[in-house]
Amino acid sequence: MTEINNAAPKRGVPLWVQITIWVSLVVLLAIVGFGLNRAQQGTVQPGDKIPDFTLPLYSGYEYQNQSNVKLSDLRGKVVVLNFWASWCKPCEQEASDLQSTWQTYDSSNQVVFLGTDYVDTEPQARIYLQKFGINYANGPDMGTQISQMFRIQGVPETYFIDRDGILRYVKIGPFTSADELKSQIEQLLQ
């Protein structure tokens, strides 16, 4: 296949081009791999330390008269973080149980219930909260930052964080009974 009369010298691919191609491929695969990992990861798991976050609260649903609550301020108490939304039908199944359990722990000052409203509208949220007589701290998850941090897969989901800020238990879906909720809290109080 040698042409005698008209051949320009047959060079291979220049090295810098090769390097660029391989580097681009590695970067592409890394990004896609990351995306895949994310898609498969699921929620944060027990044992993970939860980074600090600030939850703004609806007026009328403050925590100790503060309109914001920071997770780090709650160190030393058991935190029950519940993700819900007014448009979420399964959330309604557990709403009363959550409120009644809160009422038993309210005065102990050892447990904090935080309701995090996931992509919701305030008027509808208030209707929901009033419907179930909920009075613990509730606020919107602005920009879905907190739910992204927990990598929630849907609503409702409840996360139990112990006194040292470590996640101890994840409940996907509504609680079947108030006792289920209580037993989890009792475990963490010890």
């Binding site: 320009a8 992509v119 919701d120």
Partner: protein, 167 residues
């Protein structure tokens, strides 16, 4: 006598004030806007994406949540919010992915800059390629000459060698 006149003037002024007040109230009532039409809500919802569904525009999304958001837009429109304000509200509450395009800030500039950059790079590559190819008869024969010559010389040398052998 002039007391009665003063009273009359006061009465007229009061009546005038009352009429003016009535007009003012009346005009305020007339200013109550009609609720925003579906079209107006849709015009904004079309530019937003449903925060929970996958890649579904807000005006066609059938879920309960989307219904609430459209009602929210309707309410905000009736309060006189502008398009930009509504969009900003949605972004602040639900994240940047409700917008149809990444907001032009920070890393997102890459999405707007890289494609034109790559295309220009492609244009440049094509330009260089065409330059080298359409430098027709001047460049190629010269190099092929120098390439061909050694080979030709080889053959000539061999030929002469053969000739010498036979002679």
């Amino acid at each position: 006598m002039w007391m009665k006149k003063q009273l009359r003037i006061i009465a007229y002024v009061l009546t005038l004030l009352l009429v003016l007040a009535g007009l003012w109230v009346g005009s305020a009532k007339a200013q109550t806007p009609t609720p925003p039409t579906d079209d107006q809500v849709n015009a904004i919802a079309r530019q937003l994406y449903c925060p929970v569904c996958e890649n579904t525009p807000l005006d066609v999304c059938p879920t309960e949540a989307c219904r609430q958001w459209r009602e929210l837009i309707r309410q905000q429109l009736s309060e006189g919010w502008t398009d930009a304000q509504i969009k900003q509200y949605f972004v602040a509450n639900y994240g940047a992915r409700v917008l149809a395009e990444p907001p032009r800030s920070g890393l997102n500039w890459l999405i707007y800059i890289l494609p034109p950059a790559f295309i220009l790079l492609g244009v440049y590559i094509l330009y260089r390629a065409l330059r080298t190819w359409i430098k027709p008869s001047t460049a190629a024969p010269a190099s092929s000459e120098s390439d061909a010559k050694p080979l030709e010389d080889e053959y000539v040398a061999k030929f002469e060698e053969e000739l010498r052998k036979r002679n």
